[in-house]
Symmetry: C2
Subunit: 419 residues, 2 copies
């Protein structure tokens, strides 16, 4: 299983300790290191204070094979990080001429005026390898002390990521070859609850070892993360596939996608495959259904657009929902939802119309409590229908859950029927 | 300035070290502690490993007055956290009868079946005060060892927050009275760039002490965070106000709001104040403009709805943009944007119409490069107009920047004109 590199990540920054930002750098680096087979044992966040920095750096030098430090080296920082690291690493600091030229060139290219502070960023540890920054001006540094590799990076996420991707990870792989990579795969489900899923997979979950089986739930959706570790990525992938197959045999009907797939994307693919176009008539959801579809590249081939009929007058005049339906049943009704779905398909010349009408809250509407939502669906040549749902949560949650449910209904309908 | 409590936050969880989630708990607790005048000096993340836990806990006991531990005490955790803390705190663990009854009641109320693992969560340190969990089943604990207060919390953010708000922070305030609170205020700008703002406030920024003045930029918007520390909240607030006034005198024209205000919210307030209704015709933005407005409670009083005219046919047929305009100038044109703005106002019976047409990318449209956007505005009784913009970034960034620019145009227009 490789050498078992022990890694830790140290973030320097008062804004983190004040809670003004979250330490997303540590998350991203950890995720990437896991994929490279490197185990992370500690994250730390610390301020720009000499004593605390030296004490943490000295601890890190003792306990870790790989220490990644983000932040603390910028032009506005107090430069305690550099001084403290210099003491623990026993490496003096010098101003590197080439780095200085790069910084000057960066300022020239961007027509900024360079402040004297920016010279700081050319201050390098003796013996360090410079990790070039293609997207900003402060470079990263890699330096070895005894058996520990130290990597210093700017705190700006975009710059940190670029340096790690182009220089940092290759450097780590070269320094610590033969790590045991992990392979991770997310199975995404819709139409099955968390407890039902855990029940159906109970024995597999109880017996899990490699891969691990982690059920996750959020936003009315459940997922399972499979993570395997092996001597090679291919072997780890194989382990995941075996367990995935076992899961698929039991609850495969509910799997709509993998990893970063979304139900929106899956519906989009089905629409493309069947060469269907869709339009939406949205009241409480305010355009969110169409907005999510339009986010996807190539959306114009399946989506003509939509009508946000927030006001009753828009339902009546632009969508031409019969006044009779609204006066008899109200705007929050099955009949109104059906009419909206059919009419939006007709008016926007689409094969499919979907509609959302209901109460986002907090106040009730037409005697319906907040959370009541009707979703209507019309598909070319089939009987239009609408279903009533109740979603709990605040205004935003009700709207988001309604849109997700709309995608879910479409997904099942398009998947099951042989159009 | 109070006793200067040194706090640290320890999160236990392998999913954090694997980068599967970000340590948002530490961010939230830090932000709240800052408001309570407590300084946080360390964040740590660590896995469920006995040796590493005892070593970190022992370090925390030595260096901090307040240690907050999140996670590691759940039913599926290995329970190393409890054992390790028990050793360092020198407090044995017992199963608390009342906590056990609460857990059983929680299961009964929610009709779940309790697994034997869940009994773990009633395991309490001897001498600890129980911090009741109103929204879940695992309670928090507060316990003193020498001069250090330890607080243990569940890792689920919703439960952690509820316990801290109702029990944790009051407990901390009682244990460490007379801290120096900080007061923080965000000034939000629109229509002025970051460098211009920094230039206009150069001397103030250079001379900053208390409050600190931190310029921030994101999503095409700039903000300034003022943070003061004093012996009382009132005094800290006063210090912020003095600096705020100085800033306001120079660049107050560009301030549209404070703290959590958004430009959407500010436009919404102006529309309400002037009793205007608005509708939007959205092509590349796919409904995002209306969607953001509808998020706000009470939106129905100002927004009738909108048309997402993604396809040319929807522009022509539903919105009735003259075919002549489209054939002469194209859909990505000033003329089309003006017609869309006027027609959507007319058709949805609104005082204001706003339109977005352009190229989100990545491919070009009608010879226009990705990022080209026309925004049209019609306001009752005024000449409609459209402006051309170029936004860089990917598909999502172009769309988001266009919508924000639309709000900005409306804000300035509504603010300046005396309607």
């Amino acid at each position: 299983m490789g050498n078992g590199v022990k890694a830790e990540i140290i973030a320097v920054g008062t804004e983190l300790l004040l809670g003004q930002i979250s330490n997303t750098n540590a998350q991203w680096i950890s995720e990437q290191l896991a994929l490279h087979g490197v185990n992370v044992f500690h994250h730390s966040v610390i301020g720009d204070n000499y004593e605390r920095l030296t004490s943490l750096f000295s601890l890190a030098q003792d306990r870790s094979d790989l220490v990644i430090v983000t932040g603390g080296l910028g032009p506005t920082d107090d430069d305690m990080t550099r001084e403290a690291a210099s003491e623990i690493l026993e490496k003096p600091i010098y101003e590197d001429a080439e780095t200085m030229r790069n910084i000057e060139a960066y300022y020239e290219k961007n027509s900024f005026t360079m402040s004297p502070n920016n010279r700081k960023q050319a201050r390098i540890f003796e013996g360090a390898d410079i990790l070039v920054n293609d997207v900003g001006m402060a470079p990263g540094m890699a330096i070895q002390k005894n058996d520990t590799l130290w990597i210093f990076l700017p705190g700006v996420p975009r710059e940190m990521k670029a340096i790690m991707q182009h220089q940092g990870f290759p450097y780590i792989q070269q320094t610590f070859p033969n790590q045991s990579p992990i392979f991770s795969r997310m199975l995404r489900f819709i139409g099955i609850g968390e407890s039902q899923l855990e029940h159906d997979l109970k024995d597999l979950i109880a017996a899990q070892q490699n891969p691990t089986i982690a059920p996750l739930a959020s936003n009315g959706e459940v997922a399972i993360r499979l993570t395997a570790k092996a001597e090679s990525e291919a072997k780890a992938k194989e382990l995941v596939q075996v367990t995935e197959q076992q899961i698929y045999e039991r609850v495969g009907d509910y799997v709509y996608g993998y990893d970063d797939d979304s139900i929106d994307q899956s519906v989009f693919e089905l629409l493309k495959e069947k060469q269907f176009t869709i339009s939406a008539a949205e009241s409480l959801t305010g355009g969110q259904f169409v907005e999510r579809l339009v986010t996807l590249k190539g959306a114009s081939s399946v989506c003509n657009g939509g009508v946000v009929c927030y006001a009753k007058s828009v339902k009546e005049n632009l969508l031409e929902v019969p006044k009779l339906i609204i006066s008899h049943y109200g705007t929050v009704s099955e009949a109104c939802a059906v009419s909206m779905a059919v009419n939006v398909a007709e008016k926007l010349d689409s094969n499919i119309g979907i509609s959302f009408t209901g109460v986002a809250g907090p106040d009730e509407v037409e005697g319906h409590t907040a959370g009541t939502v009707f979703i209507g669906i019309y598909i070319d040549g089939e009987s239009p229908f609408a279903k009533r749902f109740y979603f709990n949560g605040d205004r935003d949650m009700v709207r988001t859950k309604a849109v997700k449910k709309g995608y879910e209904l479409l997904y099942h309908h398009l998947k099951q029927k042989n159009h």
